[in-house]
């Protein structure tokens, strides 16, 4: 069966996406759950270990606290409270930490440091899997056993104000609530006022037991301007005042004889030096945890706060309130909290906690009895029993106390070990699904590679031996074999496996696909081999295929391979932008060398024809620059020479626009400089200039309707930025009240749709009615300009110069380099891909989840519409690669290119994406127990998969373009 290479490539890529989806499903582990789906009950609690025969209680000791106020400040970093600025920023809190009856800790959050998984961690005590990040934007109700559910079941009355994620997670749990949506990141006062306005009345009342406050303002400030902005201090002071108010009213309510209150100040995650979060740098992970209660000893001075895990809060609160610990909690009691209780109660608390951890361990590991922690717990339980026996017998000697302390120590040790063992358990993978996905991806990659000579031939047709493979005996045998393997694996696997839970039809489809691919691969491989031996037998002089490689080809191949290899190192994943910038610079230099060579060699050749042997002196005097101006094609040569250099300078400039990555992300960059309020005028000017330049670069090849639409659209972009408050209107200096700019953004959307519509209309007309190549290229260009307009709306104001540079480089390179130097489609595609990758990072992206700008999903929307928000976010994140791919289509299908160029480009794009993707899938599988797997490699895996999906869509677009071309040719 003969297939055109573009169709072949898109087909491969789409199947690959399916394989990746299967792999991802297997890779992101389902969090450990207790085998009982029910929730913990008080009646399930273990009895106090007692070797005697007296009536031992299975009750919990009396609760330590009556009321709990949890004040959760989003993105509260540890050093905001405990650092050197804490004394000024949060004076009251600091005073309490140093002198009050408090316990202070640094609570370590786990990656991903995003709000919803952290709320889950705080309430369930378990560590939510990475996949929760993806679900972060729409939080369904939390069904797992959790503290809030337990409190409600125990009849506690709860009040909640703050981030509405809580309300979605715990619907109908709160007696009274008021949620604020956190999506309008630019607002940082109203979100907190929404919380504070209820505070006075609530604090005056007595009808609640637990009050939870979640303040979002600080996080929003971090997103807008970073942790060192001038907005931070007033916000922290405001928070400090709120804490003071709560503490004061709690003290007032305090009555003799009742249980004390507990006030918890904590953060869900920190913020990085750039103000975002999601990764696992020190600043993002370390949050303060201050527990304030009259039950604690007064502090004498500032001590260095000790470190606990964030998940430890859940069991501590549960025990402090006399509730059962939620089943899936991997946290352990923060022991100082119970310090003032009697030794018996303390031991009981630890025993309950240990028992719960032990149960969880039993459910999650088959060989739980060999775990060190479990053994230690058994020993501690036994000595606990002995101690109780002595105590009940009335022994009150020093020996008893010492023994009790020893038991306490044993318990703590056991808890620590069990908690660690459980945390390690969280990375359990569904290897079978992963392997199946990986095999599919690899088969497709091999297929792509084997088809290379045919796909890149001048016919651009790939001969796939599909029918012969499907009718061959090995195919059926393989199907049978793989099916039996599947049955064998699924019946023997003890853990749950996604691929096994699929329906039989689907599984058989995958099995048949895989075996068919294998057969095709073998057939093609055999054909290649026989062809190879034939050709080498015929003409030994030609050697291996007869493809001579220039330096540029070598660079392109080595660069692609080198980049793929570099993904194995976590630092290179974190700093991937450096690799791309480096490669891009080298590419520009290589192109420069090519240009030089072309023009100077030509000149020399001409000189040789004339036959005037140059004298040495003349040769020396004639500097290369001097004679350029004299020749006929002078200006063009000049421009061709200058273009790579200009691109180099551009890249250097763009590199300092957005510092990304991890190691150097804190360095000052132009983006921050432009965004600070003092430089608003500069930003306005830069934005205006960029928009004008964008207009002139894009309008060249549009129809006049689109030109007008584009101009109006770009005007709309500026007024949107002005309405949101990023830039200033030149005629409006006073402070205007800021809006969300919905009207302006929708105005732009209308023009985007209009331009896209005209473009597709032109394309359709060129395809159906006339066979006008010019009409078609205009249509393509209009679609491209529609995308540019949309991107310029979505990009932040300081990123508009990046877009502008992108267009400028595209125009210059197309005009003076790609056309003039006659690079073939494959070379051009690789260069486009490299540029696309580099611009992905130029626009401020990185391989950490933290840099995804979700505020883009709300441009021009009043409410949160999930599908649109996801689409817009993906579009703006991958704007760089997308724009370069769009430009590639326009360039390759422009009039004077050969008709197979689009097919070649599509094939190369698919191959370029498949190689790193396949390699990365293997790498991630091999490194699945690496320390940084969750913080570094998993986000990258998400990015890579998303990019592959996007490339598949682009390849489909390529295919339709090529199809119309060939049909118009007929």
């Amino acid at each position: 069966m003969k297939v055109r290479s573009s169709i072949f490539a898109s087909l491969c890529l789409i199947l690959e996406v399916l394989g990746i989806a299967l792999f991802l499903r297997g890779f992101f582990p389902v969090p450990i759950k207790s085998s009982f789906s029910s929730k913990s009950k008080l009646s399930d609690l273990p009895a106090e270990p007692f070797t005697g025969s007296s009536p031992n209680s299975s009750k919990l000791p009396d609760p330590l606290f009556k009321r709990v106020v949890i004040m959760l400040i989003d993105a509260l970093r540890e050093d905001f409270v405990f650092g050197s600025n804490g004394r000024n920023d949060m004076p009251y809190t600091r005073h309490l930490v140093e002198r009050g009856s408090t316990h202070s800790f640094v609570a370590k959050a786990r990656a991903p440091t995003v709000t919803m998984p952290r709320i889950k961690a705080l309430t369930t005590g378990s560590i939510p899997g990475f996949i929760d990040v993806v679900m972060n934007l729409n939080s369904p109700a939390l069904l797992e056993d959790n503290l809030i559910w337990q409190a409600k079941a125990a009849g506690k009355r709860m009040v909640f104000y703050g981030d509405d994620t809580w309300i979605k997670l715990f619907p109908k749990h709160f007696m009274e609530y008021d949620g604020t949506t956190s999506f309008f990141v630019s607002d940082y006062t109203e979100v907190d006022n929404n919380v504070t306005r209820h505070l006075d009345s609530t604090l005056r009342r007595d009808d609640w037991d637990i009050l939870i406050l979640h303040f979002l303002g600080l996080d929003h400030i971090g997103h807008i301007s970073g942790p060192h902005s001038s907005l931070i201090q007033p916000k922290l002071l405001e928070m400090d005042d709120i804490l003071k108010k709560i503490h004061g009213s709690l003290i007032l309510k305090e009555a003799e004889g009742t249980l004390p209150y507990l006030l918890v100040l904590c953060g869900d995650h920190g913020m990085s030096e750039t103000g975002s979060h999601g990764g696992s740098s020190e600043h993002e992970v370390n949050t303060p945890l201050v527990l304030i209660s009259p039950a604690f000893k007064r502090k004498a001075g500032m001590e260095k706060p000790s470190t606990v895990e964030q998940v430890d809060l859940a069991p501590t609160l549960a025990l402090g309130l006399g509730l059962p610990i939620s089943q899936n909690s991997v946290g352990r009691l923060i022991q100082p909290v119970a310090e003032e209780a009697s030794l018996r109660d303390q031991l009981r608390f630890l025993h309950v906690n240990g028992h719960q951890l032990g149960c969880l361990l039993k459910d999650s590991t088959p060989a739980y009895e060999k775990e060190v922690g479990y053994e230690q717990f058994r020993v501690a339980e036994k000595s606990h029993g002995n101690w109780l026996k002595l105590m009940v017998e009335g022994n009150t000697s020093e020996v008893l106390t010492n023994m009790g302390k020893k038991v306490l120590k044993q318990y703590l040790e056991a808890l620590r070990a069990m908690s660690a063992a459980l945390s390690k358990q969280l990375g359990r993978y569904d290897m079978y699904s992963m392997v199946v996905g990986m095999v599919l991806v690899f088969q497709l990659l091999l297929l792509l590679l084997l088809a290379m000579p045919e796909a890149l031939s001048s016919a651009s047709l790939v001969d796939l031996p599909v029918s012969s493979a499907l009718l061959s005996l090995p195919f059926y045998l393989l199907c049978l074999l793989l099916s039996s393997v599947h049955v064998l694996v699924c019946t023997s696997a003890e853990s749950s496996c996604y691929f096994c839970s699929l329906s039989w039809g689907l599984v058989f489809g995958v099995v048949a696909l895989s075996s068919a691919l294998l057969c095709i691969l073998v057939a093609m491989g055999a054909r290649r081999l026989s062809l190879g031996s034939m050709s080498s037998g015929k003409s030994p002089a030609r050697g291996g295929g007869g493809w001579s490689l220039s330096e540029l080809d070598i660079l392109l191949l080595v660069g692609t391979a080198g980049h793929t290899l570099s993904l194995a190192a976590s630092s290179f994943v974190e700093e991937e932008h450096q690799v791309w910038y480096f490669l891009l610079n080298t590419l520009c230099l290589a192109v420069f060398q090519d240009v030089c060579r072309k023009y100077f060699r030509e000149r020399r050749a001409n000189a040789g024809q004339v036959g005037s042997l140059e004298d040495e002196d003349q040769d020396e005097m004639a500097s290369p620059l001097a004679d350029l101006g004299v020749t006929d094609m002078g200006s063009e040569r000049w421009l061709a020479l200058v273009t790579p250099l200009f691109t180099l300078v551009c890249c250097r400039l763009l590199r300092s626009f957005n510092q990304t990555g991890v190691q150097w992300a804190h360095l000052p960059d132009l983006g921050h400089w432009l965004n600070s309020s003092e430089h608003k005028v500069v930003l306005s000017v830069v934005t205006t200039m960029s928009l004008i330049l964008i207009y002139f670069l894009v309008q060249r090849r549009c129809s006049w309707v689109s030109k007008i639409a584009l101009a109006l659209g770009l005007l709309g972009v500026f007024s949107y930025r002005a309405a949101v408050g990023n830039v200033m209107f030149p005629w409006q200096h006073g402070s205007r009240n800021l809006s969300k700019g919905t009207v302006e953004a929708r105005f732009v959307y209308v023009f985007v749709l209009g331009i896209l519509f005209t473009g597709s209309k032109d394309l359709l007309r060129s395809q159906v009615i006339t066979t006008d190549a010019r009409l078609k290229s205009r249509g393509l260009w209009e679609i491209y300009s529609g995308v540019v307009l949309l991107v310029s709306l979505l990009f932040r104001a300081h990123n508009l110069p990046v877009l502008c540079c992108c267009l400028l480089v595209q125009t210059l390179m197309a005009q003076f380099i790609w056309k003039k130097l006659h690079y073939d489609a494959a070379q051009t595609t690789i260069m486009h891909y490299w540029f696309g990758q580099a611009f992905f990072y130029f626009q401020g992206n990185s391989n950490s989840i933290a840099t995804v700008d979700i505020s883009v999903g709300f441009v021009g929307l009043e409410t949160y519409v999930e599908s649109l928000a996801v689409f817009l976010t993906a579009l703006s994140t991958y704007a760089g690669p997308l724009l370069w791919a769009a430009h590639l289509v326009c360039y390759l299908s422009s009039e004077n290119r050969s008709s197979v160029a689009v097919g070649h480009g599509c094939y190369c794009l698919a191959l370029l994406r498949s190689v790193p993707m396949a390699a990365y899938v293997v790498l991630v599988t091999a490194l699945r127990y690496h320390l940084f797997i969750w913080s570094v490699f998993s986000p990258k895996l998400m990015y890579e998969s998303m990019h592959t999906l996007l490339t598949a869509a682009i390849c489909l677009f390529f295919t339709t373009m090529e199809q119309s071309r060939s049909s118009s040719r007929l």
Partner: protein, 219 residues
């Protein structure tokens, strides 16, 4: 075919390599507290200096550089001045390229410029010695099939190896190992010097290996 020249080249390359070696060892003995990482710039300049001295002396003694037609003093002086000018321009060129590759513009300007000086001494200086201050000849040698003698081929190789060495030397910088040789510009200058030494070894070996197939167009 070119046995004598290859022998000459091998021995001269050996002397150059030992020059680099001496430039590392001698200051280590003489200067207290000298180390390649710690006092990196000192090492860098000592290597650059020794390479320059050895190159100029050797090529002057060997007489590889193209014969001059005029023997007037002014001509010689102008040639010398032009060589110096080209060397300086090449320093600036390398500095610019390194900055374009991402080196900080102002903060580590001295280090960057030192690297540029080292690269110049490893590459451009040899060009000046072999080909004279003649940009056309340089362009000829570095374009495809442009070599006209064994020395041109060796020049291509040594220069290529040095530059590629410096290029490869930049790769360890983003790694988070916190080693002293990851500090800018240690890895790059080390890479350049190692590449240079490799080039010195590879060039005569390769030429010796391919001496049967080597053909050069005459001028």
């Amino acid at each position: 075919m070119w046995d004598q020249e290859i022998r000459q080249m091998a021995s001269s390359h050996a002397i150059m390599a030992s020059g680099v070696f001496m430039a590392t060892v001698v200051p280590a003995v003489l200067v207290p507290g000298f180390s390649v990482y710690g006092t990196h710039l000192l090492w860098l300049y000592s290597v650059a200096g020794s390479v320059a001295v050895v190159n100029i002396t050797l090529f002057w003694l060997l007489g590889v550089s193209p014969p001059t037609k005029k023997h007037t003093l002014t001509y010689k002086v102008s040639k010398l001045v032009r060589s110096c000018l080209y060397l300086f321009l090449s320093c600036l060129f390398f500095h610019t390229v390194v900055v374009l590759y991402g080196a900080p513009l102002l903060e580590t300007a001295l280090e960057t410029f030192s690297l540029a000086v080292l690269l110049t001494s490893l590459t451009t200086l040899r060009c000046v010695c072999v080909l004279g201050p003649n940009v056309q000849a340089w362009i000829r040698v570095f374009s495809r099939h442009g070599a006209m003698s064994v020395w041109d081929t060796s020049l291509q190789m040594v220069v290529g190896c040095s530059v590629v060495g410096a290029w490869l030397g930049a790769f360890p910088i983003p790694l988070d190992w916190d080693r002293p040789w990851q500090v800018w510009p240690v890895s790059c200058s080390l890479g350049a010097v190692i590449g240079y030494l490799t080039g010195l070894v590879v060039a005569p070996t390769w030429i010796h290996w391919h001496r049967k197939h080597l053909t050069y167009k005459s001028k």
